[in-house]
């Protein structure tokens, strides 16, 4: 019975990682690929670690697995946010079906017009924070 539960959880976890990889190949621009990896790979790795914790069922292994799950859940959004931000500043092209770009004009040439109403922490990158034209 325990084996069936573990097998189900592990199939779900590896399925999530495979779906992340599929979205990685099929998605049209950097930002949608980034969102695929950030959500699905975190979920998949978390489910695999949960299956491992159930399989061993010891205090030390379970606590280490839960600590690793917490670490992955904490760090994966940070890494994706960094990649998305620098990809935007580096001038990565948006998908042509994008309907809203809320950062448009906030960096680079148009930033002087709207610079006053942006929060002060937003321009902490200094002179490097200007979006190159794609």
């Amino acid at each position: 019975m325990k084996d069936i539960i573990i097998a189900f959880i592990m199939v779900a976890g590896s399925g999530f990682i495979f779906l992340a990889a599929l979205g990685m190949v099929r998605m049209p621009d950097v930002f949608s690929r980034m969102s695929c990896v950030a959500k699905a790979a975190t979920m998949g790795l978390g489910l695999l670690l949960l299956g491992l914790a159930i399989y061993f069922g010891e205090l030390g292994v379970t606590s280490r697995a839960l600590a690793t799950i917490g670490f992955v859940i904490l760090t994966s959004p940070i890494a994706s946010h960094r990649i998305g931000r620098v990809a935007y500043l580096d001038g990565a092209p948006l998908w042509e079906g994008t309907i809203k770009d809320e950062l448009a004009g906030r960096y680079g040439a148009g930033a002087a017009l709207e610079g006053e109403e942006s929060p002060s922490g937003e321009n902490r990158e200094g002179e490097g924070a200007s979006r190159k034209s794609p």
Partner: protein
């Protein structure tokens, strides 16, 4: 028994397929950010492979390897993101 069957016929092939698709994006990716995201996914799926290997072999020590590999992957992604940002100024 069923766990051995499921891991060897379903879980490992799915993770290996994820690795192959991520390597396709690593080779094709038009920008550097795409390749970094592909590296992030390769790190996640190889950490998954380490975790499933820990289950199939019964060696709980491999969990330490998986968690440290996750830490190193996170730090290298942050370092690569810093590199993209600083590339124009170097």
């Amino acid at each position: 028994m069923i766990l051995q069957l499921v891991t060897s016929y379903v879980v490992f092939p799915l993770l290996a397929g994820a690795l192959v698709l991520a390597f396709i994006r690593l080779m094709r990716g038009p920008s550097l950010a795409d390749r970094i995201i592909a590296f992030d996914l390769i790190a996640a799926s190889s950490a998954g492979i380490i975790v499933v290997t820990a289950v199939t072999t019964g060696e709980s020590v491999l969990l330490d390897a998986a968690s440290i590999w996750a830490v190193i992957a996170f730090l290298s992604v942050i370092a690569f993101a810093w590199f993209i940002e600083a590339r124009g100024r170097l």
